[in-house]
Symmetry: C2
Subunit: 341 residues, 2 copies
């Protein structure tokens, strides 16, 4: 820290040129040696490799990918590193073990705010150069596939575009509602998800259909806007619970909303599940960490990640893509029970 000259050179990274210089060969030769191209004398090769080891040279992923077609890296593009995306990431990563692909995850809207269209931006910025293909998590708009093969997981627009993986939201919502019905509930509330998302619409439809099948009339007063988000869900839950005839059970469109509902109910002195049953959707890790643990509809996130990888690998070798729909599963835990009396 003594010399703060105009040209700060903090022992920059070792480049191919440094290796070439030290080995007394040309840059091209080093490149060939490092990449195992043949047509190099054994002696030269050894010498170069020695220098490479000495200097700790590693080719720059960035420079390499600019010049080469293939990088051997699959990108997982997310808006934000939240539990849902992280589970998916884990599934993707596991499925990629044993292949010759590395995984790179990129959160595109960390510094930009909730900018809709982050997926397009990320895909353009990374695609064609850094990554050979992408798994895009919960894209808000159609994923352009022109830049690089991409498969969308749980796309907000439903199965549009060449390749998607999602969960059977309709069946899942029916499962949730039927579970509450089978426990004896008749006044069942619903906390909607974000109205502009296909998944939320399907979850509400499943709720309505299950009610109809059970011969229960739909009651608009039992439904509120949870928006898939904590804050919004809290307000909605409070409204629902303070109505004249509050529900005895609530189906929240996702676990985040469900957890908020439990919190609000508890604050008001209601016991879950004795006074109020709550069921969520997703089965994020928090669903088992909260108290009481949350009954929910599980989306098989790991398997979805793996399915996305299969589709992507297929596309990378010329395949067409396709749509995969995973089953939803009811996970009964502590937050649901029979209504009182």
């Amino acid at each position: 820290m003594t010399t703060t000259g105009p040209l700060r050179t903090p022992r920059s990274r070792v480049t191919i040129r440094d290796v070439a210089l030290a080995a007394g060969v040309s840059v091209a030769t080093v490149s060939k040696v490092v990449n195992g191209r043949d047509g190099i004398a054994d002696a030269t090769s050894e010498r170069v490799l020695g220098v490479v080891a000495d200097l700790g040279y590693e080719s720059s992923l960035v420079a390499t990918s600019m010049r080469r077609r293939r990088t051997g890296v699959v990108g997982v593009l997310v808006a934000e590193f939240e539990p849902f995306a992280l589970q998916l990431l884990q599934g993707v990563s596991e499925a990629l073990q044993g292949t010759d692909y590395d995984v790179l995850a990129y959160a595109g809207s960390v510094s930009e705010g909730d900018h809709v269209g982050w997926e397009r931006r990320s895909l353009s910025r990374l695609g064609g150069t850094l990554i050979d293909g992408a798994v895009v998590v919960t894209p808000t708009v159609a994923v352009p596939t022109s830049v690089v093969p991409a498969v969308a997981i749980d796309p907000h627009t439903g199965p549009a575009g060449p390749a998607t993986v999602d969960t059977d939201n309709l069946a899942g919502a029916r499962l949730a509602t039927e579970h509450l019905l089978s426990l004896g509930h008749r006044r069942i509330g619903h906390l909607r998800g974000r109205g502009d998302l296909v998944s939320a619409q399907l979850r509400e439809r499943g709720y309505r259909e299950a009610l109809a099948d059970a011969g229960i009339a739909f009651d608009e007063r039992l439904v509120a806007e949870g928006g898939y988000r904590r804050a919004e869900a809290a307000v909605a839950a409070a409204a629902l619970l303070s109505s004249d005839e509050p529900p005895t059970a609530v189906f929240a469109a996702n676990d985040l909303s469900a957890i908020e509902t439990v919190r609000i109910a508890t604050e008001r002195g209601l016991r879950v599940p004795d006074d109020l049953s709550v069921i969520g959707f997703d089965d994020i890790p928090d669903a088992t960490a909260c108290s009481p643990t949350l009954t929910t509809i599980r989306q098989p996130l790991h398997e979805m990640g793996a399915a996305a990888v299969r589709t992507l690998l297929d596309m990378l070798s010329g395949g067409e893509g396709g749509h995969v729909r995973m089953p939803a599963e009811l996970i009964v835990r502590e937050s649901t029970g029979a209504p009182r009396a």
Copy 2:
């Protein structure tokens, strides 16, 4: 797929040149407009911006970072996307909200196997170009800081190098052992972590010290090698439980090992915690998802991620780095209880 000519041009990504061509200006001008440099006529600027929007142009992160010094991206380098790393990643990501840094996570040994030294490789490949700084999760060797500022979380070598964040492993292990002692256990087993890691050594030392303080002689037969890994831990747990005088409680060096221990015990008809108490270390999400839920020593992973970010940001603006040690916390759940009779 009809024309497989020598020059495959599958609607490649839109480059700055396409924009320049379409707008009838030079490449440099487009660059200036896009980057908000001044000295451009309003008319030109507007026209270029129009074309940019039309074509959906986004600058390539790779190309940009080759030319520029700063990329505005912080890298989180992990060996593998497993729960521990993912929690940390979430902490890092949250702490970076509101700054103008994006997050990029890279798993360096997915395609390469357990190659020791993945951190050096990843750092060299990404550093200096793609990322401005790095948070390296559980590096196995000293992290070279020459390429780019880097802070190591839970380094296997202990607080070496310019910047690290870790948990007080010694105190944590004492907490764990003292918890079992306070429940009345006297024959307490230990599943070691990987012997070459400082964290594992400290955890064993904490265990021994706590026993000594309680006046209990150390018994080598109550200790086995769990290696921090599922498979190895299963074997070790089986050995421990089938000894002549099996322990009534086990302190496993991490949650993964603890969960395996519970599984093995259950298989053999032991009830946890009635017949055997088990305590882990880490508090990964699985610790609440298993049954019975796991008593453990919590490492504050989110906070550690945040601490790493603080240190890194400081280094990025010329700071020196430093060592942060976080407290460990006992989380009592269902897997521990008093010994029978």
